[in-house]
Homo-oligomer: 387 residues x 2
């Protein structure tokens, strides 16, 4: 186990009906609320009206920033900072999925930043001050509801960058019923994103804590078990709750305790979706199994452990490599069963752009730890990701 | 899954050599430090000298409260509050196990309390203000290093009471090497205490989150696996680290998420050790398996799950009750293998005092949830706890 620090100050408020606390919670921070959200779904399904009415009941002044898209844009962040400045915002309230929350985190720290916002994001600096932030999560996926990270895209420069430990939400309201109406395909992309976060902390050369490793394996087993339930019964409360909890626990620091991590697949996907605006979870579904095949030779034993513990593969008479390859096939099969995309062809991504994407993925140097990947490695993984 | 809130602001700083940060960390809070500790072991093994020298390097003013015993006393808490008042203490630094940390939490909130301290503790009120508190843990057991609870004994009244959500340590330094010198028997009592915390959250009628249940089972499997390692090799870093992490994770709120809990065994043990000053873990080792047998009829299925998942009991051809009884025997066998006491005879506890203990255990009403226990139930469990 490596030395580590763990500190996660976000309060999670979990369960059916918890949204009704939002007015009272927001009022603790002041009078002026910036409500941030994405497309129209929260209006369509009534959550917007509910939140507005709860905030109005507390006589709060509500300002709005809607239309935050997936792969949230720098331009929206700049717009948000301006609203905060002009209206002395006391708390940002993000209602949505990871994109809305990520944009809101960047607004929260951007508010206290003088100078070029994109430079601040690219430098991933030490963010000392931030506006308070509450969230109401509507999609189980990114884990942004209980971590300090955000990913922002500068569409003009076709760049996608992450800031880390920037702003933990002060509180996050997690009501699984708010995910009942998530379309099947986005439920799937969310599940793939959650699984990817686990992979990125699990596949490591650190001699791990038995406990941390088995907790990671449990999140994966939980996801595999519950994914078939939510896809056939989207309003199954217990399954939606378990997947929402998995989202939060997969990326709040717990399963990374004491480990070297490997975020190469995320970096490659970010490079792909910075050029083609594809859903993050879809990109991960395409890239991750190919990353696994590519790095396998750097450590077969861990992949064998993954196969035995997560997929119950019988190790009898098999080498670590046999088990590992079976486990990677099982991963692909699971994604396939959920109709998650398997190849870059699915989004008509041109081979002519692979070089640009590979450049972007490694622009700050080699990526990953399980195997350190240079541009050539990334190109190979991208090429493996076609039919 | 029940609705729940989770908020744990303690920062944990984990690993070999982390103590060297203590001077710098303490200095963040101010000049005046109250160093609290227990018997002589931190002096004997050099930790005291190390901490003093690190605090002196930062030119801090050090005040001391040593001699905090297990089952920490109200009298020590009162003494600590007085030192804080007289010396404008900025931070309390607890170096020790759960008793030292618990006493320090009570001092931390007691400092801001006017009036009768014991009344405050018995009322388990809403503690609004508290002095900053850092800890350096030297015993893996109570989980006090990452929760807001403390248990204090009023020896004059032979009463032992818990306060909850009173004060989370601001930071806790967890260096597994500081547990190398813990005597075998206290290592064992610590392990039993950790296991008991898991049991108390695991055995529940709440239809649980699959994830939370399997995380609890993993802590138990981890403990069983690593207990034999640390008992034969007390300086095995990875095993000590895994047990220290288990201690912290078993009682920081995570495995209680969304569940009704059952703390009856703790209440019974507290009543026993309020009358006879026996080690908490030893009392739990005696009482828990008997509690299990006594409440089994209130829900055999969960105990069967425990047996299958934690002890790998083959369910083939067995009823839930068969599996459950086997699991309880396995629990007792595990405690026996570690030489943890099995009966009240071990401490010469007189049957004449059982009535007094049973009265104390239920003085605030029935205890537990798996089966609600009245005085008569408690008496039966105590009587089962003799040879």
């Amino acid at each position: 186990m490596k030395n580590f620090e763990f500190h996660n100050p976000t309060k999670i408020i979990f369960g059916k009906g918890q949204v009704e606390n939002i007015g009272r919670k927001a009022a603790e921070y002041g009078q002026n609320v910036l409500l941030t959200y994405g497309g129209g779904s929260i209006k369509k399904f009534g959550l917007y009206d509910e939140v507005i009415s709860l905030l109005e009941k507390e006589d709060l002044n509500i300002f709005e920033l809607g239309g935050i898209q997936s792969n949230p844009r720098l331009s929206k962040v700049i717009e948000g900072v301006k609203i905060c400045e002009e209206n002395n915002i006391d708390i940002i309230l993000a209602v949505g999925g990871g994109s809305t929350i990520d944009a809101s985190k960047a607004i929260s720290v951007g508010y206290y930043h003088d100078g070029d916002l994109w430079k601040m994001i690219k430098n991933d600096g030490d963010f000392k001050k931030a506006l308070p932030l509450g969230t109401i999560l509507t999609l189980a996926a990114t884990g942004s509801e209980m971590n300090g990270n955000a990913v922002i895209t500068n569409w003009n420069k076709k760049e996608k960058k992450a800031i880390h430990e920037a702003k933990y939400p002060d509180f996050s309201i997690l009501d699984p019923t708010n995910t009942y109406t998530v379309p099947r395909k986005h439920t799937v992309f969310g599940i793939v994103d959650i699984a990817s976060h686990v992979f990125e902390q699990y596949f490591s050369h650190t001699k791990s804590s038995y406990l941390v490793d088995s907790w990671a394996e449990d999140i994966l087993k939980n996801l595999i078990k519950k994914s078939s339930v939510v896809l056939s019964s989207p309003e199954n409360y217990e399954a939606r709750a378990d997947i929402m909890l998995a989202s939060t626990m997969a990326f709040n620091g717990i399963i990374g305790m004491g480990k070297e991590e490997d975020w190469a697949s995320h970096a490659i996907e970010h490079a792909v979706s910075a050029v083609y605006d594809i859903p993050h979870g879809a990109g991960l579904s395409i890239i991750f199994p190919n990353w696994m095949r590519y790095v396998l030779a750097s450590g077969e034993e861990k992949f064998a452990q993954y196969g035995i513990e997560v997929f119950d593969i019988d190790p009898q008479g098999k080498t670590d490599k046999d088990i590992a390859l079976e486990a990677i096939d099982e991963t692909r099969n699971w994604f396939d069963r959920m109709d998650a995309p398997a190849t870059l062809d699915y989004y008509d991504i041109s081979r002519d752009d692979l070089d640009l994407m590979a450049d972007k993925a490694v622009e700050d140097g080699k990526i990953g730890n399980y195997k350190k990947l240079d541009k050539n490695d990334v190109l190979k993984i991208l090429k493996m990701s076609y039919n």
